[in-house]
Subunit: 357 residues, 4 copies
């Protein structure tokens, strides 16, 4: 790790969980169709410029804000903290880091009160808040739920060039690493970090950044994810499916990656495991293990490694993207130079899609 981010003397805010993402979309009607009509997220509130969406088990105002704008990007990765005092703590913390911060008592978006937004040391727009309008938790509203009902916001995933540097920063902020991908040279390709008792609230994926890799929603069961694929097929919109469905090695969750009309990546996710103990064992995966990203050894589409969304600074301008210096996971594992395995030191059946890439 080069250029480490200093650990502030100010205490870190007590972060509860990833709470919502604000994304800028270029065609609000197209995005509404995708997130509401197809994915079935619940509209808490909407106007001509923004739509506030939540999952079925949520009681805070929203888990996703779609805001109309000229450039598809992410305006905020928003975390809920334990109290307003933790918003104050976050402010002191980031001020000590010399970051640009903005505090708004009335919040940056509807339904959220006193909030702090920062341009963090990695270039991401992080938000911290406690105050929110409570809305109806629709967990029992089975009359409203579709076959692919999204029940929780599960996590964010961020692309950043230097994963160890990013991990050290979020560890200072109180996150715990649960899993990672690395190689025998000590290169870290990705790491998963959590506050709530799941595998992650966010992940740091090595690549050109700062960019947003994906935002993930949970379903109850695997068939709910399959139902989303089936519905996309029925609507002749299966080209929204980028990767999956499949079983992750990392996290052990069943997954699907979609791309929204602007190309923002959305994961649908279910069934990871409890991680809430302080000595929760960290799971490390070898970058050459074919089952790390897909437990069934199915190939990862190159776009999944290379494409991601821009993120905005506090003025709403896209952050410049810095190239990753470390080796890329794509180059390490696919193509002429790749040397991945299912069983170490054993040969592969050679017919998998991806062997042709």
């Amino acid at each position: 790790m080069s250029n480490p981010i200093p650990t502030p003397t100010a205490p870190a805010p007590d972060i509860l969980r990833c709470a919502y993402m604000e994304i800028v979309v270029t065609d609000l009607a197209a995005s509404r169709e995708f997130y509401v009509d197809i994915l079935g997220l619940v509209v808490t509130e909407e106007d001509e410029n923004a739509i506030y969406l939540r999952s079925f088990e949520e009681f805070i105002h929203h888990n996703l804000v779609l805001r109309k704008g000229p450039i598809a990007a992410v305006a905020a990765f928003s975390f809920r903290v334990r109290s307003n005092a933790d918003v104050d703590a976050a402010q002191k913390y980031y001020e000590e880091l010399g970051c640009k911060v903005e505090r708004r008592k009335e919040g940056f978006v509807k339904g959220i009160g006193d909030s702090l937004r920062v341009e963090d040391p990695l270039g991401f727009p992080y938000e911290f808040f406690f105050e929110t309008t409570h809305v109806e938790r629709l967990a029992w509203a089975y009359d409203l739920q579709t076959p692919g009902a999204l029940v929780r916001l599960d996590h964010f995933n961020q692309v950043t060039p230097d994963v160890p540097r990013a991990v050290a920063y979020v560890e200072d902020l109180g996150f715990k690493v649960t899993e990672d991908i690395s190689d025998s040279d000590g290169v870290v390709y990705a790491a998963w970090v959590r506050r709530k008792d799941t595998v992650h609230d966010t992940a740091m994926t090595g690549g050109d950044g700062p960019r947003m890799h994906h935002v993930a929603f949970s379903t109850h069961e695997k068939h709910n994810i399959i139902a989303i694929c089936d519905k996309l097929g029925a609507l002749r919109k299966s080209d929204h499916i980028e990767r999956g469905p499949g079983r992750h090695g990392v996290s052990n969750a069943f997954y699907l990656y979609l791309r929204d009309p602007d190309g923002h990546r959305v994961e649908i996710y279910t069934q990871d495991y409890y991680t809430g103990d302080p000595d929760n064992p960290r799971v490390s995966w070898d970058v050459h293990d074919n089952q790390r990203r897909d437990w069934w050894g199915n190939a990862v589409v190159p776009s999944w490694y290379t494409e991601a969304s821009l993120v905005l600074d506090l003025e709403g301008n896209p952050q410049p993207v810095i190239e990753r210096a470390d080796p890329s996971e794509l180059a390490q594992t696919i193509g002429a130079d790749g040397f991945s395995y299912t069983r170490k030191d054993d040969k592969e059946h050679g017919f998998k899609l991806g062997h042709q890439l």
Copy 2:
């Protein structure tokens, strides 16, 4: 269609359903591990040369015979007929066609009585029988069933160069076409034909043949198929997974394709639809429709189109393979010359794996 197969004057036998496949495997222990330890098929009987396996809802002696031999191949596609008289009828039928036939009152394999084997006009070793030892139907034996329990033999799939010629032949034999893939030039790439009330008992897939494309077993639900993938991952044998899991366009079933230790392809399949009415609507798919083979538009691995198992003649020698003259589905839909679509006359999101092939 060139060189049509004449329609015999003798009546066709009354075929009930595809009943079992006899395959030759080169390493019986390796095959036993795959079919019994991993897939959980039930061993009805076994000796040093052969293993007789059945699915959990079966009451006839077996649905699959693994026979040890020097060359991996298929020895028989076996259909159950309504009565012994239908075995007689089959004999007359194929004798009129001038096919080589062999009748054995004691059967060719354990558990099966009076049987006819033929080298059919397409070069496939078909068998017809009614007599069989009844064994316990283990439908209720939930104590024995694994998470990926296989409950029925569903269908065979055969590779043959001239699909319309093959279809005309099996229609004479009493099969009904339920679905097909063709193009606007009238080229037929594949057709599905049935006797029982499902989408198929066998299918004719265009390609160099005669070869066996796959044998398919059913599970009750989709999660059972996912469980098979998960187990293969846990055993570090995920390279047995060739394609899927996914949702078929054709048949509407949820599917997975595996390759056994000899490369024989096995499909795991669930949830097609009732087809038993004489006016059951035939579903025709355009070869350029990206959702025909996978409803989610996920790419088909090239090996799935090109690789298949040899079939044996009645002396146990592999049948020579004749090249397909018509265009290949692979060439039509993948790569430089492919021009497939999700929505006709609309552009694709370009990130799908397979676009790189």
Copy 3:
């Protein structure tokens, strides 16, 4: 069996399957809410007097007709036959039996052509037809399907006093018995009979009759049935649930029994087994086996045994109900005189609901 029904010399019609039921409902709007808004059946056509509904995988005009009328009852149990010639055959068959018949070339309901309705020897209004309007098979219409999507009409269930007499009659008509419940005295309490390759197209349940016990629709998976229960809960209509969900012993299917606004019983059903071979083994259950009706030994609510819908004659008047003379299954298995078992000659854990009845 007393008073056996003679076997006609005329050949029986070739019945394909149970095809639709016509029921009379007293409040069409209430029934529409139940069958369309809650259960999600597809409306093929409707007017102020009738609603024509089908399941998602159906291509004939309908599987259920709701007709407005003064008395809740069943107007027709309708079977599809192979051809119009089979409608003729049915007419001759029932005329020979001396039954009242009515033939209408234009059909009795919309979407169905040349049909025969009869008052059969057991007092049931049976219909036979081949001609029907083809409608879109919505198997692939995942955008329209709810979490509890009903995909097929599976079977009827009829209440009749003398089960062996009824079975002999339907066997003459070409049905095959797949399972039954009886006792060591030779009393038969119920029998399941099939034409298509499933456990049944109809069943004969011993009781005061002729009455209609239930009509059953299939889902793909068990979670679809649970979703129906969850939705009824969300709508505060859980009192439509009469029994289940549970696993049947008989048929091995997962089941749920609902009561519609008029009290007509509807079963939701999934995952029985293939029965299409002529030597399909018959499964006989002891009436005292606690797991015969519910594989988990959960109690059967008394109303399930005693309540059923009236059936109409060809003039639309309710058929008189004749009392069962044989012992009732309810009396045999529940209450002071019941002596059921989970393990023969072993004692029960005594805490099950139903032990208190």
Copy 4:
């Protein structure tokens, strides 16, 4: 609430989660068959006197200890705390309460280090520990998992006469109430309290106590729970099923209640919701709401209300059971005096099992 338990001045220990239960069983072999052969819990270690079992996603030594003894009872409700310092804190906390405590640096059972056991003010044997042997987390071991795989210990449930008194005590200990059942007179019938981010780590159920109502394990999906029922049926042990499967109103989880060979109640549970925010909305249910205990309005078997396991003091003697003075939920909702509803002020369909009780 009478006789409130004083709030200690000593700080409460930081409890992570319910971690394991130690139960005394009278026939170790019979219990092993139930928990290992049938339910598929993983044996971490065993000897002639005790078996240590864990769920598939666990990394601490065990979630359940079966110890052979003369009287079926519960020896410990064990909670994991954040550190050894929290074991010290627990000791001071309970000493200030005047409770009998016992500290063992080497632990009370295998695999657990420095521990405190107490006879708490309600009479329950609570344990607190941090140190434990890490064992392999078998989350990815799909080759070992059965169709009904238990993946986590979810919660305990305790029977105690005075629910508000018990709740005040555990709130002092740091638990948060998530849901409750009460009536318009202010009687509280049950309350659910949590430390980890789920609906509960334990619950207080009103009744004669102290007794143990149940211990609950989680599965991933609903079909896993159904598979347990199906397996019990296949083994002719369905009389282990006491109640369910069903959907809870409280917690929204899908459930099943079993009774082990000694009558200890085990719940199998899946899919409640995230509760980790400090302002997580509390859900209160009316005791007369038919859907509170079962969302489908299915009746609760009386034994479920009245039967529970004895708990032991630190000498291993059963604690005396004190009668509940407040009204019982059973009396309020079932039978002659019951007046429950599905829709307030509306009549019920009267056919549900339970209406006959």
